[in-house]
Protein backbone atom coordinates (compact mmCIF):
# COMPACT_ATOMS: atom_id res chain seq x y z
CA UNK A 1 0.00 0.00 0.00
CA UNK A 2 1.48 3.29 -1.07
CA UNK A 3 1.40 5.98 1.55
CA UNK A 4 1.14 9.65 0.97
CA UNK A 5 2.45 12.17 3.40
CA UNK A 6 1.00 15.50 4.09
CA UNK A 7 2.81 18.10 6.07
CA UNK A 8 0.51 20.08 8.25
CA UNK A 9 1.38 23.21 10.07
CA UNK A 10 -0.20 22.81 13.47
CA UNK A 11 -0.38 24.92 16.55
CA UNK A 12 0.63 23.56 19.88
CA UNK A 13 2.86 20.80 21.09
CA UNK A 14 3.62 19.51 17.64
CA UNK A 15 5.32 21.90 15.28
CA UNK A 16 5.30 20.09 11.95
CA UNK A 17 3.98 16.57 12.24
CA UNK A 18 3.93 14.24 9.30
CA UNK A 19 0.46 12.93 8.71
CA UNK A 20 0.21 9.71 6.84
CA UNK A 21 -2.96 8.71 5.10
CA UNK A 22 -3.14 5.05 4.36
CA UNK A 23 -5.31 3.82 1.58
CA UNK A 24 -4.79 6.84 -0.63
CA UNK A 25 -4.22 4.64 -3.62
CA UNK A 26 -7.08 2.29 -2.70
CA UNK A 27 -9.88 2.85 -5.12
CA UNK A 28 -13.41 2.77 -3.81
CA UNK A 29 -15.75 1.00 -6.14
CA UNK A 30 -19.29 0.18 -5.17
CA UNK A 31 -20.86 -2.61 -7.19
CA UNK A 32 -17.92 -2.06 -9.54
CA UNK A 33 -18.69 1.66 -10.07
CA UNK A 34 -15.70 3.89 -9.22
CA UNK A 35 -16.08 6.57 -6.53
CA UNK A 36 -14.08 9.73 -5.89
CA UNK A 37 -12.75 9.59 -2.32
CA UNK A 38 -10.27 12.48 -2.45
CA UNK A 39 -10.56 15.77 -4.26
CA UNK A 40 -9.36 19.36 -4.03
CA UNK A 41 -10.98 21.10 -1.07
CA UNK A 42 -13.77 23.59 -1.76
CA UNK A 43 -12.56 27.20 -1.96
CA UNK A 44 -14.08 28.17 1.40
CA UNK A 45 -11.78 25.78 3.30
CA UNK A 46 -8.82 27.75 4.58
CA UNK A 47 -6.71 25.09 6.28
CA UNK A 48 -7.19 22.00 4.16
CA UNK A 49 -6.03 21.42 0.58
CA UNK A 50 -7.55 18.02 -0.10
CA UNK A 51 -10.72 16.51 1.26
CA UNK A 52 -10.95 12.77 1.90
CA UNK A 53 -13.93 10.52 2.36
CA UNK A 54 -13.98 8.77 5.73
CA UNK A 55 -13.67 5.55 3.73
CA UNK A 56 -10.01 6.45 3.12
CA UNK A 57 -9.19 6.12 6.81
CA UNK A 58 -10.75 2.73 7.46
CA UNK A 59 -9.04 -0.66 7.47
CA UNK A 60 -9.01 -2.85 4.38
CA UNK A 61 -11.65 -5.09 5.97
CA UNK A 62 -14.02 -2.23 6.75
CA UNK A 63 -13.41 -0.66 3.35
CA UNK A 64 -14.32 -3.92 1.62
CA UNK A 65 -17.73 -4.07 3.31
CA UNK A 66 -18.84 -0.94 1.49
CA UNK A 67 -17.77 -2.11 -1.95
CA UNK A 68 -20.64 -4.45 -2.65
CA UNK A 69 -24.23 -3.99 -1.53
CA UNK A 70 -24.49 -7.69 -0.76
CA UNK A 71 -21.66 -7.29 1.77
CA UNK A 72 -22.83 -3.95 3.15
CA UNK A 73 -24.73 -4.59 6.41
CA UNK A 74 -26.61 -1.30 6.03
CA UNK A 75 -28.78 -2.86 3.34
CA UNK A 76 -30.72 -4.85 5.94
CA UNK A 77 -32.06 -1.51 7.10
CA UNK A 78 -32.49 -0.15 3.59
CA UNK A 79 -34.66 -3.17 2.76
CA UNK A 80 -36.75 -2.57 5.87
CA UNK A 81 -37.14 1.06 4.82
CA UNK A 82 -38.47 -0.01 1.42
CA UNK A 83 -41.20 -1.96 3.24
CA UNK A 84 -41.91 1.06 5.42
CA UNK A 85 -42.05 3.27 2.32
CA UNK A 86 -44.85 1.11 0.96
CA UNK A 87 -46.74 0.62 4.25
CA UNK A 88 -49.78 2.70 5.16
CA UNK A 89 -49.39 4.53 8.46
CA UNK A 90 -51.42 7.24 10.19
CA UNK A 91 -54.97 8.59 10.16
CA UNK A 92 -54.95 9.66 6.49
CA UNK A 93 -54.49 6.08 5.38
CA UNK A 94 -51.42 6.92 3.34
CA UNK A 95 -48.01 5.45 2.76
CA UNK A 96 -44.96 7.32 1.43
CA UNK A 97 -45.68 5.67 -1.89
CA UNK A 98 -49.15 7.24 -2.02
CA UNK A 99 -47.53 10.59 -2.92
CA UNK A 100 -44.00 9.62 -3.99
CA UNK A 101 -44.08 7.09 -6.80
CA UNK A 102 -40.89 5.37 -5.63
CA UNK A 103 -37.79 6.17 -3.54
CA UNK A 104 -36.02 7.00 -6.80
CA UNK A 105 -37.91 10.29 -7.08
CA UNK A 106 -35.56 11.54 -4.35
CA UNK A 107 -32.51 11.23 -6.56
CA UNK A 108 -30.31 14.28 -5.98
CA UNK A 109 -31.92 15.46 -2.76
CA UNK A 110 -29.26 14.12 -0.40
CA UNK A 111 -26.44 15.80 -2.34
CA UNK A 112 -27.83 19.29 -1.74
CA UNK A 113 -28.99 18.94 1.87
CA UNK A 114 -29.33 20.65 4.23
CA UNK A 115 -30.79 23.65 2.43
CA UNK A 116 -32.74 26.79 3.14
CA UNK A 117 -36.39 26.48 2.13
CA UNK A 118 -38.79 29.09 0.75
CA UNK A 119 -39.64 30.26 4.25
CA UNK A 120 -36.00 30.95 5.00
CA UNK A 121 -35.67 27.95 7.31
CA UNK A 122 -32.76 25.56 7.19
CA UNK A 123 -34.23 22.13 6.54
CA UNK A 124 -32.82 18.63 6.78
CA UNK A 125 -34.03 15.30 5.42
CA UNK A 126 -35.33 13.96 8.77
CA UNK A 127 -37.47 17.09 9.08
CA UNK A 128 -38.89 16.61 5.58
CA UNK A 129 -39.76 13.02 6.48
CA UNK A 130 -41.45 14.01 9.72
CA UNK A 131 -43.33 16.86 8.05
CA UNK A 132 -44.76 14.35 5.60
CA UNK A 133 -45.69 12.02 8.41
CA UNK A 134 -47.45 14.58 10.58
CA UNK A 135 -48.91 16.90 7.90
CA UNK A 136 -49.89 14.48 5.16
CA UNK A 137 -50.13 11.04 6.73
CA UNK A 138 -51.52 11.93 10.12
CA UNK A 139 -48.84 9.71 11.60
CA UNK A 140 -46.58 10.09 14.60
CA UNK A 141 -43.22 11.78 14.25
CA UNK A 142 -40.25 9.48 14.23
CA UNK A 143 -37.35 10.02 16.61
CA UNK A 144 -34.42 11.74 14.94
CA UNK A 145 -32.04 8.83 15.30
CA UNK A 146 -34.55 6.02 15.70
CA UNK A 147 -34.33 2.93 13.53
CA UNK A 148 -37.27 3.89 11.28
CA UNK A 149 -35.90 7.35 10.58
CA UNK A 150 -32.32 6.21 10.05
CA UNK A 151 -33.50 3.55 7.59
CA UNK A 152 -35.73 5.97 5.69
CA UNK A 153 -33.08 8.68 5.33
CA UNK A 154 -30.69 5.90 4.31
CA UNK A 155 -33.08 4.87 1.55
CA UNK A 156 -33.57 8.48 0.44
CA UNK A 157 -29.82 9.15 0.57
CA UNK A 158 -29.02 6.02 -1.41
CA UNK A 159 -30.83 7.48 -4.42
CA UNK A 160 -28.09 10.14 -4.65
CA UNK A 161 -25.21 7.72 -4.22
CA UNK A 162 -22.40 8.60 -6.63
CA UNK A 163 -23.60 12.18 -7.04
CA UNK A 164 -21.29 15.02 -6.07
CA UNK A 165 -22.01 16.85 -2.83
CA UNK A 166 -23.07 20.37 -3.69
CA UNK A 167 -24.47 22.17 -0.66
CA UNK A 168 -25.33 25.85 -1.07
CA UNK A 169 -23.59 28.12 1.41
CA UNK A 170 -24.38 31.52 -0.02
CA UNK A 171 -27.48 33.68 -0.17
CA UNK A 172 -30.05 32.76 2.45
CA UNK A 173 -27.78 30.03 3.85
CA UNK A 174 -24.94 32.40 4.72
CA UNK A 175 -25.86 33.27 8.30
CA UNK A 176 -26.53 29.65 9.29
CA UNK A 177 -23.37 28.52 7.55
CA UNK A 178 -21.41 31.12 9.52
CA UNK A 179 -23.01 29.89 12.72
CA UNK A 180 -22.09 26.31 11.85
CA UNK A 181 -18.52 27.33 11.14
CA UNK A 182 -18.31 29.07 14.49
CA UNK A 183 -19.51 25.90 16.22
CA UNK A 184 -16.97 23.82 14.28
CA UNK A 185 -14.10 25.88 15.66
CA UNK A 186 -15.51 26.37 19.16
CA UNK A 187 -13.86 24.44 21.96
CA UNK A 188 -16.30 22.65 24.24
CA UNK A 189 -16.38 20.26 27.17
CA UNK A 190 -13.93 19.35 29.88
CA UNK A 191 -11.46 18.14 27.25
CA UNK A 192 -11.83 21.61 25.71
CA UNK A 193 -11.67 20.58 22.07
CA UNK A 194 -13.29 21.74 18.86
CA UNK A 195 -14.22 19.64 15.84
CA UNK A 196 -11.23 21.16 14.08
CA UNK A 197 -8.72 20.00 16.70
CA UNK A 198 -9.22 16.40 15.61
CA UNK A 199 -10.74 16.52 12.15
CA UNK A 200 -8.78 19.39 10.62
CA UNK A 201 -5.51 19.49 12.58
CA UNK A 202 -5.10 15.76 13.16
CA UNK A 203 -6.82 13.73 10.49
CA UNK A 204 -4.66 10.79 9.49
CA UNK A 205 -3.30 10.47 13.04
CA UNK A 206 -4.20 7.67 15.40
CA UNK A 207 -5.99 8.63 18.59
CA UNK A 208 -5.31 5.45 20.49
CA UNK A 209 -6.99 2.75 18.33
CA UNK A 210 -8.97 5.21 16.20
CA UNK A 211 -7.72 6.57 12.90
CA UNK A 212 -8.89 10.18 12.81
CA UNK A 213 -10.76 11.14 9.66
CA UNK A 214 -11.74 14.55 8.37
CA UNK A 215 -15.20 13.99 9.79
CA UNK A 216 -16.83 14.16 6.36
CA UNK A 217 -20.54 13.30 6.37
CA UNK A 218 -21.04 12.32 2.71
CA UNK A 219 -21.63 8.68 3.69
CA UNK A 220 -24.36 9.25 6.30
CA UNK A 221 -26.39 7.64 7.57
CA UNK A 222 -23.53 5.26 8.10
CA UNK A 223 -23.51 1.69 9.34
CA UNK A 224 -21.06 1.50 12.23
CA UNK A 225 -19.53 -1.82 13.18
CA UNK A 226 -19.33 -0.42 16.70
CA UNK A 227 -23.11 -0.41 17.23
CA UNK A 228 -24.32 -2.47 14.24
CA UNK A 229 -26.92 0.05 13.12
CA UNK A 230 -27.39 3.07 10.87
CA UNK A 231 -26.11 6.23 12.51
CA UNK A 232 -27.43 9.69 11.74
CA UNK A 233 -25.36 12.83 11.34
CA UNK A 234 -26.75 14.50 14.47
CA UNK A 235 -26.41 11.23 16.37
CA UNK A 236 -22.71 11.21 15.50
CA UNK A 237 -22.27 14.87 16.47
CA UNK A 238 -23.82 14.00 19.81
CA UNK A 239 -21.44 11.09 20.32
CA UNK A 240 -18.43 13.24 19.49
CA UNK A 241 -19.49 15.92 21.96
CA UNK A 242 -19.98 13.38 24.74
CA UNK A 243 -16.52 11.97 24.00
CA UNK A 244 -15.00 15.32 24.79
CA UNK A 245 -17.17 15.57 27.89
CA UNK A 246 -19.41 18.30 26.51
CA UNK A 247 -23.18 18.60 26.82
CA UNK A 248 -24.41 17.80 23.31
CA UNK A 249 -26.88 20.00 21.52
CA UNK A 250 -30.19 18.28 20.82
CA UNK A 251 -30.65 16.28 17.64
CA UNK A 252 -32.60 18.51 15.28
CA UNK A 253 -31.55 21.68 17.15
CA UNK A 254 -30.67 24.86 15.29
CA UNK A 255 -27.07 24.36 16.40
CA UNK A 256 -26.73 20.85 14.97
CA UNK A 257 -28.54 21.87 11.80
CA UNK A 258 -26.14 24.76 11.31
CA UNK A 259 -23.20 22.49 12.06
CA UNK A 260 -24.54 19.93 9.59
CA UNK A 261 -24.74 22.61 6.91
CA UNK A 262 -21.17 23.71 7.57
CA UNK A 263 -19.74 20.19 7.78
CA UNK A 264 -21.66 19.14 4.65
CA UNK A 265 -20.16 22.11 2.83
CA UNK A 266 -16.70 20.87 3.77
CA UNK A 267 -17.44 17.79 1.67
CA UNK A 268 -18.55 19.73 -1.42
CA UNK A 269 -16.82 17.84 -4.24
CA UNK A 270 -16.86 14.37 -2.68
CA UNK A 271 -19.50 11.83 -3.68
CA UNK A 272 -22.49 10.73 -1.68
CA UNK A 273 -21.71 7.22 -0.35
CA UNK A 274 -24.92 6.62 1.60
CA UNK A 275 -25.10 4.12 3.21
CA UNK A 276 -21.41 3.91 4.05
CA UNK A 277 -19.70 1.48 6.43
CA UNK A 278 -17.41 2.73 9.18
CA UNK A 279 -16.08 1.39 12.46
Amino acid sequence: MKLIKIILAMAGLVATPIVTIAGEDSQLTINEEPFVTSVAAPAHLENVDTIYSGWTFRTDETQALQMDDFDNPAFVFIDQAIDTFNAVDGSAGKACVSCHESPEVFKGLRASMPRVNGSGELETIPELVNNCRTERMGAEKWKWSGGKMAGMIGLIGLQSRGMTVDVAINGPATSMWEKGKELYYQRVGQLDMSCSNCHEDNYGNMIRADHLSQGQINGFPTYRLKNAKLNTIHGRFKGCMKNIRATPFKEGSDEFKALELYVASRSNGLMIETPSVRN
Binding site: A11, G12, L13, V14, P17, Q186, R187, V188, G189, Q190, L191, D192, M193, N197, C198, D201, N202, N205, M206, I207, R208, A209, L212, M241, K242, R245, A246, T247
Partner: protein, 151 residues
Protein backbone atom coordinates in the same frame (compact mmCIF):
# COMPACT_ATOMS: atom_id res chain seq x y z
CA UNK B 1 -13.29 -8.05 58.68
CA UNK B 2 -14.54 -5.24 60.91
CA UNK B 3 -11.02 -4.32 61.79
CA UNK B 4 -10.13 -4.27 58.11
CA UNK B 5 -13.05 -1.97 57.38
CA UNK B 6 -11.96 0.38 60.15
CA UNK B 7 -8.42 0.43 58.87
CA UNK B 8 -9.63 1.14 55.36
CA UNK B 9 -11.81 3.96 56.70
CA UNK B 10 -8.88 5.46 58.56
CA UNK B 11 -6.76 5.18 55.43
CA UNK B 12 -9.48 6.93 53.44
CA UNK B 13 -9.52 9.72 56.00
CA UNK B 14 -5.77 10.06 55.78
CA UNK B 15 -6.09 10.10 52.02
CA UNK B 16 -8.61 12.89 52.01
CA UNK B 17 -6.52 14.75 54.56
CA UNK B 18 -3.64 14.80 52.11
CA UNK B 19 -5.99 16.06 49.38
CA UNK B 20 -7.23 18.78 51.69
CA UNK B 21 -3.66 20.02 51.75
CA UNK B 22 -3.41 20.23 48.00
CA UNK B 23 -3.42 23.41 45.97
CA UNK B 24 -6.84 24.17 44.46
CA UNK B 25 -6.89 24.37 40.64
CA UNK B 26 -7.61 28.11 40.74
CA UNK B 27 -4.70 28.74 43.13
CA UNK B 28 -2.01 27.10 41.03
CA UNK B 29 0.86 29.51 40.35
CA UNK B 30 2.39 29.30 36.89
CA UNK B 31 5.81 30.69 36.07
CA UNK B 32 6.50 32.86 33.04
CA UNK B 33 6.78 29.99 30.59
CA UNK B 34 3.91 28.00 32.06
CA UNK B 35 5.96 25.93 34.49
CA UNK B 36 4.85 25.17 38.06
CA UNK B 37 7.49 25.16 40.81
CA UNK B 38 5.57 23.77 43.75
CA UNK B 39 4.18 20.27 44.09
CA UNK B 40 0.39 20.37 44.06
CA UNK B 41 0.22 18.26 47.21
CA UNK B 42 3.60 18.22 48.90
CA UNK B 43 3.39 14.43 48.75
CA UNK B 44 5.90 12.65 46.53
CA UNK B 45 4.36 11.18 43.42
CA UNK B 46 3.90 7.44 43.00
CA UNK B 47 5.38 6.54 39.62
CA UNK B 48 3.77 3.09 39.55
CA UNK B 49 0.32 4.61 40.01
CA UNK B 50 1.23 7.32 37.51
CA UNK B 51 1.96 4.64 34.94
CA UNK B 52 -1.54 3.19 35.45
CA UNK B 53 -3.15 6.62 35.16
CA UNK B 54 -1.17 7.24 31.97
CA UNK B 55 -2.86 4.32 30.20
CA UNK B 56 -6.27 4.44 31.93
CA UNK B 57 -8.84 5.63 29.39
CA UNK B 58 -11.00 7.24 32.10
CA UNK B 59 -8.08 9.00 33.76
CA UNK B 60 -4.99 10.38 32.06
CA UNK B 61 -5.43 8.41 28.84
CA UNK B 62 -2.12 9.99 27.81
CA UNK B 63 -1.55 7.01 25.53
CA UNK B 64 -4.49 8.14 23.39
CA UNK B 65 -2.28 10.85 21.92
CA UNK B 66 1.33 9.95 22.76
CA UNK B 67 3.63 7.13 21.74
CA UNK B 68 5.45 5.74 24.78
CA UNK B 69 7.87 2.90 24.13
CA UNK B 70 8.19 2.10 27.83
CA UNK B 71 4.57 0.94 27.55
CA UNK B 72 5.05 -1.14 24.42
CA UNK B 73 2.96 -3.96 25.90
CA UNK B 74 -0.05 -1.72 25.24
CA UNK B 75 -1.30 -2.16 21.68
CA UNK B 76 -2.44 1.25 20.57
CA UNK B 77 -0.39 4.42 20.97
CA UNK B 78 -1.72 7.71 19.66
CA UNK B 79 0.04 10.02 17.24
CA UNK B 80 -1.60 13.34 18.02
CA UNK B 81 1.05 14.64 20.43
CA UNK B 82 4.83 14.22 20.51
CA UNK B 83 6.39 10.90 21.50
CA UNK B 84 7.21 10.78 25.19
CA UNK B 85 10.32 8.61 25.02
CA UNK B 86 12.98 10.55 26.91
CA UNK B 87 10.57 13.34 27.79
CA UNK B 88 12.28 13.80 31.17
CA UNK B 89 15.54 14.57 29.34
CA UNK B 90 13.86 17.33 27.38
CA UNK B 91 11.80 19.00 30.11
CA UNK B 92 12.42 19.98 33.71
CA UNK B 93 10.02 18.53 36.27
CA UNK B 94 8.49 21.99 36.80
CA UNK B 95 7.78 22.35 33.08
CA UNK B 96 6.21 18.89 32.91
CA UNK B 97 4.02 19.76 35.88
CA UNK B 98 2.86 22.89 34.08
CA UNK B 99 2.12 20.93 30.90
CA UNK B 100 0.06 18.39 32.85
CA UNK B 101 -1.91 20.98 34.80
CA UNK B 102 -2.65 23.25 31.83
CA UNK B 103 -0.47 22.94 28.76
CA UNK B 104 -2.11 25.97 27.17
CA UNK B 105 -0.06 28.14 29.55
CA UNK B 106 3.04 26.94 27.66
CA UNK B 107 1.67 26.04 24.23
CA UNK B 108 -1.05 28.40 23.13
CA UNK B 109 -3.73 26.74 21.05
CA UNK B 110 -2.68 23.18 21.79
CA UNK B 111 -5.25 20.40 21.53
CA UNK B 112 -3.99 18.92 24.81
CA UNK B 113 -6.56 19.06 27.62
CA UNK B 114 -5.72 20.70 30.95
CA UNK B 115 -5.68 17.92 33.52
CA UNK B 116 -5.98 20.09 36.61
CA UNK B 117 -8.37 22.88 35.75
CA UNK B 118 -11.97 22.89 36.97
CA UNK B 119 -13.52 26.02 35.46
CA UNK B 120 -13.61 28.15 32.35
CA UNK B 121 -15.01 25.45 30.09
CA UNK B 122 -17.89 25.67 27.65
CA UNK B 123 -20.92 23.30 27.83
CA UNK B 124 -19.22 20.81 30.12
CA UNK B 125 -21.18 17.58 30.58
CA UNK B 126 -23.02 17.83 33.90
CA UNK B 127 -21.10 15.13 35.72
CA UNK B 128 -17.78 16.86 34.97
CA UNK B 129 -18.80 20.39 35.93
CA UNK B 130 -16.43 21.81 38.55
CA UNK B 131 -14.22 18.75 38.29
CA UNK B 132 -10.67 18.29 37.11
CA UNK B 133 -9.67 15.38 34.87
CA UNK B 134 -7.06 14.25 37.41
CA UNK B 135 -6.85 14.84 41.16
CA UNK B 136 -3.89 16.83 42.46
CA UNK B 137 -2.07 13.75 43.70
CA UNK B 138 -2.78 11.96 40.44
CA UNK B 139 -1.02 14.79 38.57
CA UNK B 140 1.98 14.33 40.86
CA UNK B 141 1.84 10.56 40.27
CA UNK B 142 1.82 10.95 36.47
CA UNK B 143 4.62 13.49 36.83
CA UNK B 144 6.66 10.98 38.86
CA UNK B 145 6.12 8.42 36.11
CA UNK B 146 7.07 10.88 33.32
CA UNK B 147 10.25 11.69 35.26
CA UNK B 148 11.34 8.07 34.76
CA UNK B 149 11.13 8.39 30.97
CA UNK B 150 14.82 9.01 30.21
CA UNK B 151 16.89 7.80 27.32
Amino acid sequence: MKLFAKTAFAAALLGSASFAGSIAPSDVQFGESGEIQASLTGVAGDAANGRKLFMNRKKGNCLACHVNTEMSEQTFHGEVGPELDGVADRYETEALRGILVNSKMMFEGTIMPAFYKDAGYNRTLKKFIGKTILEAQEVEDVLAYLSTLKE
